[in-house]
Amino acid sequence: MKMTVTVNGRKRTVDVAPLARLLDVLRDGLALKGTKEGCGDGECGACAILLDGLLVNACCVPAIQATGRAVVTIEGLAEAGEGRPEPDRLQQAFVDEGAVHCGFCTPGMIMASRALLEERPHPSESEIRVGLSGSLCRCTGYGTIVAAVAKAAGEGYPERPLPWKSGGGERPLFSPDEAERFFVPESLDEALAILHRHPDATVLAGTTDLLPDMKKGRAAPERAIDLLRVPELKGIACDGSVIRIGACTTNGEIIRSPLLRERLPVLVDAASHSGAPAIQNRATLGGNVANASGAADHLVLLLALGASVTVASVRGERTLPLEDFVVAYRKTACEPGELIREIVIPLPPEGSLQKWIKRGSRQALTLSRVSLAFHLEREGERIKVFRLAAGSMSPVPLRLTETERAVTGRTITVETARLAAETARSEIHPRKSPDYRRAITANLVRRFFEELI
């Protein structure tokens, strides 16, 4: 296909495969070698760039989705000097603070820093650390990098907001063969019609699951439909007693949503502990649900929140409780021709409590080894409603219904805490490291109640 993309302010047109990685388009197609590949799995941040102003990993973005958008790479930050580019203040701060060692992480690290400073001109140290938590550096121990970002921020960087936050909106120009296989619908009806004609097509959301899978040879879509241009699949709205979140809403949008911060902070919490910023800006709620993996963080929380899933097809829409939607590992109730339209979450009643806890293998950018989500409603001293969901311990996340039953109606005491913990311990059956995961689960459940006494 022919793709037109605005790179560092210039419109560029290249011939590429629709699912080619933006990383390769930049490096090979446009000879912009500043963006690096350290893993190709979204795990290192060396390939980070800005896409329509947001930090993303270029190894997880397919060309078809980058078409018509604005890309900023490390080459785009430099100031035009006399005949040669000059480092901008941020780049210079990296040099001055000794934040550059081997330099391989540096371009991605600087892009992540820029993205952070665009959003938070005066970040605290811990905000800097969070902002850079998806960018690995093996050389520096990060201290000098954090100092460089703080220095640039202190100098008032960026002086001007990024000029290139949207592209020209061009559509990909497919070859005749590709036109039969790749689609970029711009409305839900159009998307559903295509899906009706090609029920075997893979739908593309944030592609953070899909592109790494393709690299490993676990997926090789023959046909694909981009969902990111469909406005109906975006957005967060409060609608009476429920919150509706469009399937293509990203974790980044969830984190930035004032509505969710106020009405459903637990979802913001889960979104901010899923992946790291560059992944969050791409990963969608719908994709997480559709993937139906045991380690999918949102699935766990959505189960405890009692969410349901609305799917749509040319035949119309239907809404299912999440429990019924996720059928088995990597299998959902989506029929051919259907896609997830939105997730519907009941607004938690006043005074109720939600909590989400994830134990990964490190502090950021890690899959859950154990994740738990709690929803608790009390009536006086007694537990009126209790929902508990657990992830990473079964092929798909599960509600721990025995534990829920065991404590419902009881008052919260040390004894209740112990009972909940022990019931949860015996209710889960993790395949790998069972006693370890059971112990964590029991500890966390006990702690949840003990903290309420």
């Binding site: 490096r27 912009l32 500043g34 963006t35 690096k36 590949e37 350290g38 893993c39 190709g40 799995d41 795990e43 290192c44 060396a46 490390i74 580019p85 480092p87 210079q92 990296f94 040099v95 001055d96 603070e97 000794g98 550059v100 060692h101 081997c102 330099g103 391989f104 540096t106 371009p107 600087i110 800097i128 650390r129 969070v130 850079l132 938590s133 998806g134 960018s135 690995l136 093996r138 050389c139 520096t140 121990g141 990060y142 201290g143 000098t144 990098i145 490993k216 134990r359 293998s361 490190r362 502090q363 890690t366 080894r369 490291s433 370890y436 112990a439 964590i440 500890n443 966390l444 702690r447």
Partner: protein, 759 residues
């Protein structure tokens, strides 16, 4: 303290600009016109006899070139410590991923397709992956008994010490595989030139190792083998030996195809097939007096070498020479083995055997303290080496600052107060703990290595100065620091001396970029070259002025005779104008190298040791068994900090690698003989959020060998972080970890075995 102009300042690194602009050329970025892509047919099994290599006729093999051992146009070995590592497996494979054949083609897709059309028919043989299994001798991987190397040190009367001990304290310790995880994967390209010579470009630490390996296998004269490192995206030892392998593969493919060939590893391939830090087990017995004095020490140190020698012998030697710790112990018996298994050969990783041995001894010091109910700091102070003490290899020590760094780290971190406070436990899931350790590292090659290396450095002047070394800058800053040293010696500004990336057609052999030797030894030789330059200029000026060279003095960065003075730049310009461009060389004076008897394992193991002590503070979540490092107080005595910002960067960077190894970097060998990680989400290194706050304090006690007193620094911060972290976990939870990585699951088991953490 001497006054310096350049030393001790921190000018911006010379390659910083191109790196922040995204313009630094790494091997994947270098345009090579007409370049083909190389690929490797890798053994899927850990041990087996090759019956046949079958190429499917369904593929058009004329589209690619194909090489196996039988069609290799050269001798089949990669020159390293021993020449036992074949370029391509011949009759047997002895590890998963071992190269059986090579393919090159015009693009990735063609090569991948070709690779899919090759099957290696292998008769599988039983495989062994652990040292214990391998020592049973039922499966022979290497030599006759799988023992790659064995060394002993015996000093004093160990038997007597144990007979008279108040207490005998014993312990077993283990360290796991550790991946360097340079962020840039391995990559190399070979470019055949019209005159029949070969140019090799790529990511590497040691251009002359690569040249040597090519020379030995291909039989080409060194002048026809030009090796040029690209900007190298981290090495940490991982690009010491393996680049020689990649260079030979690409060279063979280039010779066969007549085209340039490049091999770029993907992360999965890099994780699966390149050398890691040797896993180790250590058994320690100590004879101890009730006051904590150690009178006798027995150590049995075992390394899992994987299938071939690679660098194991020297890793093991360094392990031997550090494993007694920074302690004064009169009666010592150390026995070490490197054992071959059907694992990917282990190789070099920052610290090179020392971190494994030091982990064990430092944990053992904590164990002695535990058994005697003393504080670990006091047990250490009781036994700490001081000036004039003797190490087990018989070396009488000079320039010892172990006590100073230890006391200072304890003081700066508030160790004593915190240790006592945290031991009382606390409410809630988060338990804090603090632990401390002391370590050291010998700078430069082990034993007589520096004496036989023949390090040469050259300075050219052709209107401007350039400094030529074979040291690569893989991030540590060598090509910023070495010109600083020259600038100091010559009274110039650092930016008046160019330090180009090495190119064996241009630079002399100043040795490999390893062993914490670059600032110390290569830097020293830079100063020798500067002396030669001054002599050269003095001779010239004397001739010009018609006076004796002795009448010309060099002080305060300028040459003076009674009536005139010249800056070095002026004098060089005058010399160049009169006689044309010129060059001088520097070499290492013999007295700067150590002298060691390897057969008896005795003598001066290193000319100088750098010292480090560290207090690590952690929070352990006893609900989730997560360890989070919060603070790291590190005191390092490194002789001289040439560039303090780079020094702190080396310390924090190295330390974080060691902290990662201590609790989250978990790599094992699967029953099929593969490494457990083939992508980054399965091998986790610390992120910004896994990183403690750094409190780094540098002490400078110049040594008489290194440039301006510098000691080796690169590996030092790797050596003591892990035991300090485990000691902190012990302080927080009461459990005594003996094995790293101390993953959440292992911590859980220890806490369970102890019956919880409530104290």
């Amino acid at each position: 303290m001497p006054q310096f102009n350049v030393i001790g300042t921190s000018p911006p690194r010379l390659d910083g600009r191109e790196k922040v602009l995204g313009q630094a050329p790494f091997i994947a970025d270098v345009p090579i016109p007409g370049c083909w892509v190389g690929g490797v047919v890798a053994s899927p099994v850990p041990h087996g006899r090759i019956r046949a290599i079958v190429r499917d006729p369904a593929f058009d093999w004329s589209r690619v070139v194909f090489v196996d051992a039988a069609s290799l146009p050269c001798r089949n070995f990669v020159h390293m410590v021993r020449d036992d590592f074949p370029i391509l497996a011949e009759e047997k494979v002895t590890f998963v991923t071992q190269a059986v054949a090579l393919v090159a083609g015009p693009d990735r897709a063609t090569v991948d397709e070709a690779l899919r059309h090759v099957t290696v028919d292998i008769e599988p043989l039983p495989a062994v992956f652990s040292v214990d299994e391998a020592l049973k001798g039922e499966v022979v991987v290497w030599g006759e008994d799988n023992v790659i190397d064995e060394y002993r040190i015996d000093r004093g009367d160990v038997k007597k010490a144990f007979a008279e001990a108040d207490l005998v304290v014993e312990g077993d310790y283990a360290t796991g595989l550790h991946e360097q995880l340079y962020l840039e994967n391995q990559g190399m390209a070979a470019i055949p030139r019209d005159d029949g010579s070969l140019e090799i470009v790529g990511s590497m630490q040691c251009p002359y190792y690569v040249q040597g390996a090519l020379e030995q296998a291909l039989g080409l004269a060194p002048e026809r083998l030009r090796v040029k490192p690209c900007v190298t995206g981290g090495g940490f030892g991982g690009k010491e030996d393996y680049p020689s392998v990649l260079a030979l593969w690409t060279a063979v493919l280039a010779l066969k195809s007549g085209r340039p060939v490049r091999i770029l590893y993907e992360r999965g391939q890099d994780l699966q097939s390149t050398p890691k830090r040797h896993p180790s087990t250590t058994r320690i017995r100590t004879a101890v007096r009730r006051d904590g004095t150690i009178t006798g020490l027995e150590i049995e140190l075992r390394f899992n070498g994987g299938a071939f020698t690679t660098l194991s012998r020297v890793v093991q030697q360094r392990g031997m020479l550090h494993c007694q710790g920074a302690y004064r112990i009169a009666n010592v018996a150390i026995h070490s083995l490197t054992v071959a298994t059907n694992m990917v050969p282990s190789g070099a990783y920052r610290g090179f055997g020392a971190p494994q041995g030091l982990f064990a001894i430092e944990r053992h010091m904590d164990r002695i303290a535990r058994e005697l109910a003393l504080d670990p700091l006091d047990v250490r102070l009781k036994n700490i080496v001081d000036e004039g003490d003797t190490f087990p290899c018989g070396q009488k020590l000079k320039g010892v600052f172990a006590r100073q760094v230890l006391e200072r780290a304890a003081e700066l971190s508030g160790y004593r107060k915190k240790r006592a406070l945290y031991a009382q436990g606390s409410e809630g899931p988060l338990r804090r703990g603090i632990g401390l350790s002391v370590a050291f590292h010998g700078g430069g090659f082990t034993g007589s290595g520096e004496a036989t290396m023949g390090t040469v450095v050259r300075i050219d002047y052709d209107g401007a100065f350039s400094l030529h070394v074979s040291s690569t800058d893989m991030g540590q800053g060598a090509l910023t620091v070495l010109p600083m040293i020259a600038a100091e010696a010559l009274g110039l500004r650092p930016d008046e001396i160019a330090a180009p990336r090495p190119d064996t057609a241009v630079c002399p052999n100043s040795g490999p970029t390893v062993a914490s030797r670059t600032t110390m030894y290569v830097g020293r030789v830079v100063t020798e070259a500067c002396k030669a330059l001054i002599d050269e200029l003095r001779t010239f000026l004397a001739y010009q002025e018609g006076i004796s060279p002795r009448a010309i003095a060099f002080t305060k960065g300028a040459l003076h005779c009674r009536s005139r003075s010249w800056t070095v730049a002026q004098a060089a310009r005058a010399r160049c104008d009169a006689q044309g461009p010129f060059s001088v060389e520097g070499r290492l004076p013999q007295e700067a190298a150590a002298c060691f008897n390897l057969d008896r394992f005795e003598g001066e193991a290193y000319r100088s040791y750098a010292w480090i002590a560290q207090a690590v503070e952690v929070a352990v979540n006893v609900d989730t068994y997560e360890v989070k490092p919060l603070e790291a107080t590190i005191v390092a005595e490194i002789g001289r900090a040439i560039h303090p910002v780079l020094v702190e960067g080396q310390i924090a960077g190295g330390f974080l690698q060691a902290l990662g190894w201590s609790h989250i970097e978990d790599l094992t060998v699967t029953p099929e003989g593969r490494f457990s990680a083939d992508q980054l989400n399965a091998y986790l290194i610390p992120t910004t959020l896994d990183t403690p706050q750094w409190h780094i304090d540098v002490m400078e006690e110049p040594c008489d060998v290194g440039a301006y007193g510098a000691k080796g620094l690169g590996e030092l911060p790797m050596n003591g972080a892990a035991p300090a972290a485990l000691s902190a976990v012990e302080n927080a939870t009461g459990v005594f970890g003996t094995e790293i990585p101390l993953t959440g699951e292992k911590l859980f088991r220890l806490i369970e075995a102890q019956g919880g953490t409530e104290r």
